[in-house]
Symmetry: C2
Subunit: 218 residues, 2 copies
Amino acid sequence: MISCAFLQSTYYLHCNKLYRTVHVNQDNTAMSASKRDILVKKALQVFYRNGFHATGMDMLVTETGVSKTSMYKHFRTKDDLILASLRLRDELFRNWLMRRMEELATTPREQLLAMFDALGEWFDQEDFNSCMFIKAASEYPDPDHPVRASAAEHKRLIKHYLVELGEKAGVAEPAQLARRFLLLKEGAIVTAHIQGSAGVAADARQAAQLILTDACQD
Amino acid sequence: MISCAFLQSTYYLHCNKLYRTVHVNQDNTAMSASKRDILVKKALQVFYRNGFHATGMDMLVTETGVSKTSMYKHFRTKDDLILASLRLRDELFRNWLMRRMEELATTPREQLLAMFDALGEWFDQEDFNSCMFIKAASEYPDPDHPVRASAAEHKRLIKHYLVELGEKAGVAEPAQLARRFLLLKEGAIVTAHIQGSAGVAADARQAAQLILTDACQD
DNA sequence: GCGGACCTGTACCGATCAGTATAGGTTGAG
DNA sequence: CTCAACCTATACTGATCGGTACAGGTCCGC
């Protein structure tokens, strides 16, 4: 089954031909899913690299290869496209992080610490450019803006995964452990972005080890 | 000589009519209140609240009360004004943080932990809007841009202060302690910004306590 | 009163912003 | 074939972008 769960998905489950799959838009106009996928995927890259306000729709036309007319058929406003990009980013990043944590370690305790090994791999990728949601929140000062809600939801979902892992690991206060790990994670991302990635993930992992040991002693 | 060291004051050093720039502030403190100082001070507030790309020069004219002609007399480009704002922010914020840490505690060990109490006060201020340098770095993707250098320097100076405090506290590896504390600090800032400030500073402080205890056992 | 330092307001520049209008090309189903 | 869905390119809107030009106002030491 080929489908794109990040693009309002269930409708796709009834389709057997991706190139002709039909997506029901906000205004009930039928659209080609593949073009839409290409647009969101490439827009995500441009927004991540270049920022949101600094990226104009004309730049997106040249960078994505999708005409402006099609863009505005798929998304009523630039903000809608941004939100779709953030939804995709949330899914891709969380899937990658969780998969990598589970690949790098076997026990829940080790998987928790492996988060920082995975982050270290991310920091060393040449296209690493901080967390897209931290950047998004930085550009949208209104706390009620949907972009901010998207960022909060992304962080909440990661925290939820860490809590689950903490429960599997049998720590006394998994919620507390998750909050502390998240502090180290966000701090490592920001520090690797501003100061450079050298040693940052290892520092965070060592600090996390202390916190985890303490959490298991309780 | 009355001047503001944070405001790239060389231009005024050649001015022998400095008294013209001395005014009385709202709180009756005599300070250099030249148009340039007013401009940078208010521009800082607008950039911090509204972002860099999203703030146009025309908005700065209305928000600061300084004419556009004067702005471009003092600063050749918008970027120069942004950099001056960041220099001011660096000085104001670091001075505030260090002063508050030393007010809240007496011993170096307690002062280190008091950083998170000070951060907690900051998070609860209604105009708290994340770290200006994290936001600046988020908006300027080019790592060689002066804005990025300014952000890195700000973080470096704070780290340097933490290392000094760690040495005074007699910990075995003050540099390592400072790096770990900085991870918690940046993580707390980002988390308070995105998820809300409730409990964030306290979480960070508890984690810092564990790290500090470990550092003193060595 | 004169000159210079410093400020203002207003109008303007070409470029770019988000978004729209219009016309036409391609594809596949019936 | 026609029809409809979906795509393209181009041109355009009014607003705003960073930045400049120009004329004039105010204050000061001389």
